[in-house]
């Protein structure tokens, strides 16, 4: 069983049907994959959907489908928040707030973070297993 945490960037790329999100399809189609999504991604992706002109109803349908592909929704709690500080402090580049929380979720769950956000690349492999879309 391989555990993946899908970042908002990977979820959006998949929802938009972008070519490199075929990797997301592959992972979802593999019955050996366990899919995790950080609760924060529902707000980020939902906000983008609304911003693009989708209605609240349409946005909620999208978020329901995100929930359907997930084995687990990882909630940001105190432990995750504290872990995010540690990751931020040890990142080679400045790690945005949302990124630090999502990376902490992946770290806490021992999952590989699938994303398309260059900021995650500043986190060492010892602290975060990750794969950037389009680099496989």
């Amino acid at each position: 069983m391989k555990r993946w945490l899908l970042d908002s960037s990977a979820l959006l790329a998949f929802w938009l049907g972008e070519p490199d999100s075929v990797r997301v399809s592959e992972i979802l189609a593999n019955s050996e994959s366990e899919i995790l999504i950080c609760s924060l991604s529902f707000a980020e992706a939902g906000r983008k959907s609304i911003e693009l002109g989708a209605t609240e109803l349409e946005t909620n349908k999208t978020l329901d489908l995100f929930k359907s592909i997930a084995t687990e929704i990882v909630v940001v709690d105190e432990a995750i928040a504290r872990l995010s500080l540690h990751l931020s402090q040890n990142s080679a580049v400045r790690l945005p707030f949302a990124d630090s929380l999502i990376a902490a979720c992946a770290h806490a769950k021992n999952a590989t973070l699938l994303h398309r956000d260059k900021h995650f690349l500043g986190i060492s492999a010892a602290m975060l297993q990750q794969e950037m879309l389009g680099t496989q």
Binding site: G17, S31, I35, E44, K48, S49, A54, S68, P96, H119
Partner: protein
């Protein structure tokens, strides 16, 4: 379970009731058909695969050439 079905008209055949019941197929169900080594295998797609099929490209018509993911990455950096 082992049973025979007859193809009535091209691209159309009936599944016996006991197979429908055992497999969970209902009228209108989506099924995956795989032909391998002389055998046809019918599978009920998992809920995850069905949801993924609906999700893929669902928002494409809204993006109108915008690089939405790049926007997200930029906004994250400026938000904090």
């Amino acid at each position: 379970m082992n049973t025979r079905v007859t193809v009535t008209i091209p691209e159309n055949f009936a599944l016996p009731a006991e197979l429908m019941l055992a497999s969970g197929f209902t009228a209108g169900s989506e099924m995956e058909c795989v032909f391998e080594q002389g055998q046809i295998c019918l599978r009920v797609p998992s809920a995850r695969v069905s949801a993924a099929r609906q999700l893929f490209g669902m928002g494409r018509h809204l993006s109108a050439g915008r690089d939405v993911v790049a926007e997200l990455v930029t906004e994250r950096a400026s938000d904090g």
